[in-house]
Symmetry: C2
Subunit: 459 residues, 2 copies
């Protein structure tokens, strides 16, 4: 090691230092995120309407844009203590490899069995469902991270968990499916004959391998058509970003413990759950004028919702059964190139992140996937951790920034959100290693097709 190591490799908080409150960045926002709309009436969803789909306490959290701090119930904090605090790691080895004066830190959320940050919200949603006396929850999963996290959370609270898994993933990712089954979840390949909408789709498209939009529709139908069940979602919603704020809260406490002032915070953006959670506390300071930290979201060039999308009301699901959200979107009909590996394929962006971006508080970078995997492997070889393709978007930009520091001599403190591990994404790594990965950037014409499907909303 060439640098002096006053800062440990890993900063852990003690249990006493762990956050007792979620940070609700909406309380700081001058322009609040726009309300969800009823897809039939196009009127703002009331608490009552939302409560037919979501748990009551979660509806309150969804609508609460005034309280900055929302207490984390003790039962949830007890669960967090099993896998949190996640470490804030100083990337000494990467810094040495890059020979940069920059100080790079990463908040590592991959150290739990679900392999990602998704568990932070899953346990909160399972807790509120249990507290409401529900029998179970339903959800959909594509790649399987969210479904795994929810299965673990439901198992802990002895709650039934029904996961609609996109059929192609169900068949191609049997390991993910079996992790969920190990945690007691009922996993159904979607489309299925267990719902009206599933049967309709199977009738119209007998050979279909499913889509996330269809799985969402089945999960929602399955929840609202029974007593004792509600639907839960792993990203996009305000409540999810609220739960994920524990990432940023812990990061801030860890940095403060060693007197480190971050100059730049970098996170990957899919639906916005990780990114929103990572930045909330820091964004609050920035809005209040207490900090001038740069906040950078990184998205794939193949699915550029922030950098090339429209800020408009849109459907959250391709099946168009969920409420409408105002967000940066490529249109609910936009489907990223099948070449695109890993996550970050969602057509829209969480309303909170969208509004912050519209307010000029967030910078956005879009990167192509082969350079992302190149950065991922460079990182893995010196830092040990095999990052998820999603997380590697942030790593790529952090390396770029560290190389700029090498030119300018700046000792910037750069903080990355490392959302998860790539253990279940080896097919993508394999494609890269075999030279079979191609980059893809949609043309303006292709984006127009997605925009054409945007609903007409006049508020």
């Amino acid at each position: 090691m060439t640098k002096k190591q006053e800062i440990p490799y890993k900063i852990y908080l003690t249990e006493e230092e762990m956050p007792k409150y979620y940070y609700n960045v909406r309380a700081d926002m001058k322009t609040k995120p726009a309300p969800l709309l009823n897809p039939e009436t196009l009127e703002p969803m009331t608490a009552e309407e939302l409560s037919q789909v979501f748990c009551e306490e979660l509806v309150k959290q969804e609508l609460n844009d005034t309280d900055r701090e929302i207490e984390i119930p003790e039962e949830i904090r007890n669960f967090y203590r099993m896998y949190r605090p996640s470490p804030l790691v100083r990337a000494y080895c990467l810094e040495e490899k890059l020979d940069t004066p920059a100080n790079i830190y990463y908040k590592y959320e991959g150290g739990n069995t679900s392999g990602s940050h998704k568990l932070n919200s899953a346990i909160a949603q399972a807790y509120y469902a249990k507290k409401q006396g529900l029998e179970g929850v339903t959800t959909e999963t594509g790649a399987g991270q969210w479904g795994t996290a929810l299965s673990m959370a439901c198992s802990y609270f002895d709650l039934k968990c029904e996961v609609y898994m996109v059929k192609v993933s169900y068949e191609q990712k049997p390991f993910r499916r079996d992790v969920m089954r190990t945690y007691g979840a009922k996993v159904t390949p979607s489309p299925s004959d267990t719902t009206r909408i599933g049967r309709k789709i199977l009738e119209e498209h007998p050979g279909t391998t499913g889509s996330l939009g269809c799985a969402i529709s089945e999960a929602v139908e399955s929840a609202v058509s029974r007593d004792g069940y509600r639907y839960v979602l792993g990203s996009v919603l305000n409540q999810v970003l609220l739960h994920q704020s524990i990432i940023g809260e812990e990061t801030k406490t860890a940095l403060d413990k060693y007197g480190i002032k971050p100059d730049m915070i970098i996170g990957c953006c899919g639906g916005g759950s990780n990114f929103g959670g990572l930045i909330s506390t820091f964004m609050g300071e920035k809005i209040r004028g207490e900090s001038d930290v740069e906040i950078v979201g990184v998205e794939p060039a193949s699915c550029p919702s922030l950098s090339r999308g429209k800020y408009a009301y849109d459907f959250c699901d391709t099946g168009r059964v969920c409420p409408l959200a105002k967000m940066y979107t490529l249109g609910s009909g936009f489907i990223p190139s099948p070449n695109h590996a890993g996550g970050l394929r969602y057509h829209g962006m969480s309303p909170i992140v969208s509004q912050l971006y519209d307010d000029g508080l967030i910078q956005v970078r879009s990167v192509e996937q082969s350079e992302v995997f190149k950065a991922a492997i460079e990182f893995a070889r010196v830092e040990g951790i095999l990052p998820a393709p999603e997380s590697s978007h942030a790593i790529k930009v952090a390396i770029d920034e560290a190389m700029k520091c090498k030119e300018t001599g700046e000792e910037k403190n750069i903080v990355i959100g490392l959302t998860g591990t790539g253990y279940f994404d080896m097919f993508a790594y394999q494609k890269y290693l075999d030279g079979e990965m191609s980059d893809y950037v949609p043309t303006d014409e292709e984006l127009q097709t997605g925009f054409a499907g945007l609903p007409q909303v006049n508020l």
Copy 2:
């Protein structure tokens, strides 16, 4: 939580508290483990002979049975700081589920990318190879944990890494293979045409899917037939147990930090690397009469080397090219039932563990695999972590012991070695969940076949 929680969920050591020395239990042993023998002359292997296969510094460690403490070089400690200290976790949720007065702790080694404790020795072996100025190392891997760990370690020290992977695993576990490739290793399915012995086997058995014994033979041949290469091994050897002693050293420091006196330490036994590493420090105290801790090794009933094996000199590999070791063994020709899932399939046991067992210092339990998977799932559902099948052997016995405490009212402090995660073992979980897993215990007659192949050694 019903119990008072004076002890945190996870005990982490600070960097200052991390071990600076490996613990060499051989210094405490009244009867030293028997020396390795040259397979041709049946004479004890000299340092010079061993140095043709292994790195010089590792040969010294292999032969050193007098120094109790062996310093961990700073370069290795720097690497350890990336993923160590591993947490000592208090299993509060499992205790509550079992309603037991026992206090259960587990030392969790699965939190690094290789997914197991194997990395502890891989980094040491890679370091000494680099220090000797070697170009690279060769090894074999079956399921892939050791190969992954070694790839990570070699990548860190910029050392070439060549892994002979049993062909059936190479084909059935492409993800493991690609993790190794991500870390820059050259992975060759074994048997291959790159070695004399590989070509011979391919000629005699054109359709073979390989075996660990054959892969070892290829890796050894590949190392000794070139300048600048040595062979490295992930278990069984004294040097490997020495490196793994960091597990027990950290565990002891963590327990001492909170004034906890362990009553029972439970680990799973395959080749003995995890078990030997977990117990070394505690065994030293026990031999010196400073503690009366019970030390329990758990092995699968399908591969019962300690409980039903013979204590005799045997070949370490089925190819019979490696030195002979005196150990509890089922015979190098013994092959566990193909029904047996996960690791712990090795026919012998490390000479150190074998001698300690022969001295009456270790208890052994053997368990059947369906009860192991039942315990694994029970554990996963309350503690979050999805344990490797190997580790779950220890969990099974810990649960049994905790249930005994429930009857007697004893507040025993039970410490488990949780060696790794089960992410790459989902096929075995799947079999269990689908009710397709069967138990198997070899008959005495079947064991005789293995014993019949033992070499005649008269020392």
